[in-house]
């Protein structure tokens, strides 16, 4: 990059310093973006990625440093400034109006008008032209709320491009996407950088994406730029090493053999068109991974087993006893726990403390003669915080203030408090950084030693293979393949997940 003229940079940030009381969040960081490149920005939580982006977006003002856009020094003080310069930011959370259609979202605030009236036909025509130009196969009349998450991401990108964006900042855009949708998104990004010379700053937790998509990569650690590389020149291991500042051997712990006794048995579980007769079993001390594409029925399976959504038929047994799983309460009493993927909305009450969250499902157990034993809740919550190594100032810390890894550990604590025998983890490490992941995996392996059975629903094939004693592949509500540990590769799983396995099923022709 040294040979390039500084003028050719779309964006150049030089010597950026940002201090917060007691911390230097950005310490003399340099960063640049060329037209038509995807520049991956990596780092652990707290490394300074979002701070750097917030400086660029005008959400924070920097203490020192300079920013150049297309070679000219610019001052960015408010969120409006970067917009005028052709910079657009697409955050993790979707920022579309779900009730409006694609065209209206794309032109929200800049509708073509004449005499104060919106020119409806022109709006749809232009939306259609843009979508075609960007090679997005979308109907401008489709209501955004009915689209898939991938399609909504594409609409957000289209909206940014309508406003003539030359720089797009994408903050973990694929975190909620599964493999195939990610490829769709990547195709659009590749197309845009080639034919429109758009530059992308791309923040991701998925390190595998670096080599799939990136041209250059910058790694931040503790607020410093520890290196900018052409992606071809650096391996994934080296990137991770740079990120955490030490060598990481293996984020997956050793997992012992399962016990003989059965923990969970599910027989012929059916639920409309979502689950078409699923049977499986999990032994004590065993992790069974269930994987498949989005919409294959993973979450539905977990929720049905744990009594959250009603099933049409089927049976669930925990340690040989039949479970009344028509309500969550019945399933919990039997020793089942569902650890939802969406920890914010379904796992923890964000505005409440760790101890209150801990006490919630255990409040029946901890009630004597109608009175709650608050002392016991405090004692047990503190005990679990120690045992599970939950890092927080105290048990009164609000759940919403915890990191992803610590939130997940708090959810686990909450369910261990109900004396669970089987934990159903739905996407246990989604949105959690690499250090947090390793801790969650280590915790799972400890749970196995205590004889707990784990059913892990995951769309991360690597995780499914590395953590599972067995891997079951769901396809349209049915288990189509079972792999023993060490028997399959990610590709084998993918093949089964898209319905290309040898075991074809009768329902398949019905698409």
């Amino acid at each position: 990059m040294s040979e390039r003229d500084a003028l050719s940079y779309l964006v150049e940030m030089k010597g950026i310093v940002k201090r917060f009381p007691g911390v230097v969040a950005l310490d003399n960081v340099d960063f640049s973006l060329l037209p038509g490149e995807v520049h991956m920005l990596l780092g652990e939580n707290g490394a300074g990625k979002s701070t750097l982006i917030k400086v660029l977006s005008g959400a924070y003002s920097m203490d020192e440093g300079e920013i150049f856009v297309r070679g000219e020094a610019v001052s960015i003080h408010s969120p409006m400034d970067p917009l005028a310069l052709g910079l657009r930011f697409i955050y993790q959370e979707l920022s579309l109006v779900p009730q409006l259609d694609i065209a209206r979202n794309m032109f929200l605030g800049i509708e073509p008008r004449r005499l104060g009236f919106v020119r409806i036909r022109e709006l749809y025509d232009r939306a259609a032209r843009y979508l075609e130009k960007f090679h997005m196969d979308l109907d401008p009349h489709a209501v955004v709320g009915t689209l898939s998450v991938t399609q909504q991401k594409l609409v957000e990108i289209a909206r940014a491009l309508v406003k003539e964006a030359q720089v797009l900042v994408l903050d973990e855009p694929t975190d909620v996407l599964e493999d195939r949708s990610r490829r769709d998104l990547f195709a659009v990004i590749n197309e845009l950088k080639r034919s429109h010379s758009v530059g992308f700053i791309y923040i991701s937790h998925r390190y595998a994406e670096v080599h799939q998509l990136g041209d250059r990569v910058t790694i931040l650690r503790d607020g410093k730029n520890v290196g900018t590389y052409q992606v071809a020149e650096i391996s994934l291991d080296e990137i991770i090493e740079k990120m955490i500042g030490r060598k990481i051997e293996n984020q997956y712990p050793d997992i012992g053999p399962p016990r003989e006794e059965e923990a969970l048995r599910v027989e012929d579980l059916r639920q409309g068109s979502k689950l078409k007769g699923v049977s499986l079993n999990v032994r004590k001390g065993e992790i069974v991974s269930v994987t498949g594409l989005m919409g294959a029925g993973k979450t539905e399976l977990g929720r049905a087993i744990c009594g959250i959504d009603p099933s049409d038929s089927g049976a669930v047994h925990v340690e040989g006893h039949r479970v009344n799983f028509s309500t969550p309460d019945g399933a919990i009493r039997a020793g089942l726990a569902y650890l939802a993927e969406d920890r914010k909305a379904l796992g923890l009450i964000q505005i409440h403390s760790i101890r209150d969250n801990y006490g919630l499902p255990s409040s029946s157990r901890l009630t004597r003669l109608g009175l709650i034993n608050h002392g016991a809740i405090d004692r047990e919550a503190a005990e679990f915080m120690g045992k599970l190594n939950i890092k927080a100032p105290s048990r009164h810390t609000k759940a919403g203030q915890l990191s992803g890894g610590n939130q997940q550990k708090t959810v686990v604590a909450k369910w261990l408090g109900t004396r669970s025998k089987v934990l159903v983890f739905d996407e246990p490490t989604r949105g959690i950084d690499i250090r947090g992941r390793a801790e969650v995996y280590a915790l799972m392996s400890e749970l196995l030693e205590q004889g707990i059975g784990i059913l892990m629903l995951t769309s991360d094939y690597n995780e499914a293979l590395e953590m599972g004693h067995r891997v079951l592949v769901l396809y349209r509500g049915e288990i189509v393949r079972e792999f023993q540990r060490g028997e399959a590769t990610e590709e084998d799983i993918l093949r089964a997940a898209i319905g290309a396995g040898e075991k074809t099923t009768a329902g398949e022709g019905a698409t």
Binding site: A345, L348, S353, D356, L360, T367, G370, I372
Partner: protein
């Protein structure tokens, strides 16, 4: 019990309404020396009884994330029912039990209508507000309901008994919210319906109880006023639900659920009552009193909004 943390900022937030109350009281004492007498103090407490017992209900309902706009109408319905029963020479004990029962039953019905059907609480209870008031008017219009038996008049007479009833009501609500499973879970349900359901809490069933308790306290409040004034009138109660909700909010219970407590409501009720009493004492008209209360509501919630925003940034 407040749900949350012992962190210093939380404590400071809890203290603010108390501080507001002290400032209001001290200000009135400074302006008008006669305000300081023990008599005025007793008067404020007595005046707080009707609003206080009524506000016990929305404290529980708001913490659980619900809302009941019908308790003002429910209040007058119970007052009219009690008046008619007393005029019919029904024994006083039976009248009291029956009146409280009507309150609780109507509250329960509100719960069934909103939680049972999924109609938003605002709409469902707005509808019932009209229904209860209509029934109260049919039962009570142009009827003489006064000069009740001596044994009924005792309930609201003087200082000790009404203040005592309010104190017991507050204590029971305190124990309910802090020590019973159903009360403890009210915070969780208000914090997140779905997280609570997934944790095995029978959310809908519990809501019915919270709403029934709201109706019960509306009934209790109505009995005390009917007894104290020794007559009953179907024109009472208009806007009382909003006064009660306002007092709860001023105390620091969150309208969006999950945060609050009866202790805060006590403070909120005292702020409203002291403000009214003080302004009356100074000869300020009731219209200006209303304006003052309105401003206090906005200030209290604004303060809360500012602090929450600062917390988010920190």
């Amino acid at each position: 019990m407040k749900t949350a943390s012992s962190a210093r900022s939380q404590m400071w937030k809890g203290i603010q309404p108390v501080l507001g109350l002290v400032i209001i009281y001290v200000a009135f004492v400074a302006v008008s020396p006669t305000f300081r007498t023990f008599d005025t103090f007793k008067t404020i407490l007595t005046q707080a009884v009707i609003l206080g017992t009524l506000a016990a209900g929305p404290t529980i309902v708001l913490i659980s994330g619900g809302l009941d706009l019908s308790i003002g109408s429910l209040f007058v319905l119970v007052a009219v029912c009690a008046g008619r029963l007393l005029m019919a020479d029904v024994p006083v004990a039976l009248v009291v039990i029956f009146s409280l029962g009507i309150g609780a039953a109507c509250g329960l019905l509100n719960g069934v209508i909103t939680v049972g059907t999924g109609i938003p609480a605002f709409i469902g209870t707005l509808g019932m507000m009209k229904v209860y008031r209509g029934i109260a008017e049919i039962l009570g219009m142009n009827r003489d309901m006064s000069r009740f038996p001596e044994s009924f008049q005792i309930i609201g007479r003087g200082y000790l008994i009404p203040i005592g009833i309010m104190a017991v009501a507050f204590l029971l609500v305190y124990l309910f919210l802090s020590r019973t499973k159903m009360g403890f879970n009210a915070y969780a349900i208000g914090g997140s319906n779905e997280v609570s359901r997934l944790a095995g809490v029978p959310v809908k069933r519990y809501y019915l109880v919270y709403y029934a308790l709201g109706g019960f306290f509306a009934g209790l409040s109505a009995i005390i006023l009917t007894s104290r004034l020794n007559f009953s009138n179907s024109a009472w109660g208009a806007g009382m639900e909003l006064d009660a909700i306002a007092a709860v909010i001023i105390g620091g219970t969150s309208l969006s659920g999950g945060v609050g407590g009866i202790g805060r409501t006590v403070i909120g009720v005292l702020i409203v009552t002291a403000l009214n009493a003080g302004l009356s004492h100074l000869g300020v008209s009731s219209s200006w009193q209303r304006i003052a209360i309105g401003i206090v509501i906005i200030l209290a919630v604004w303060l809360d909004v500012i602090q929450r925003r600062r917390e988010l940034k920190a």
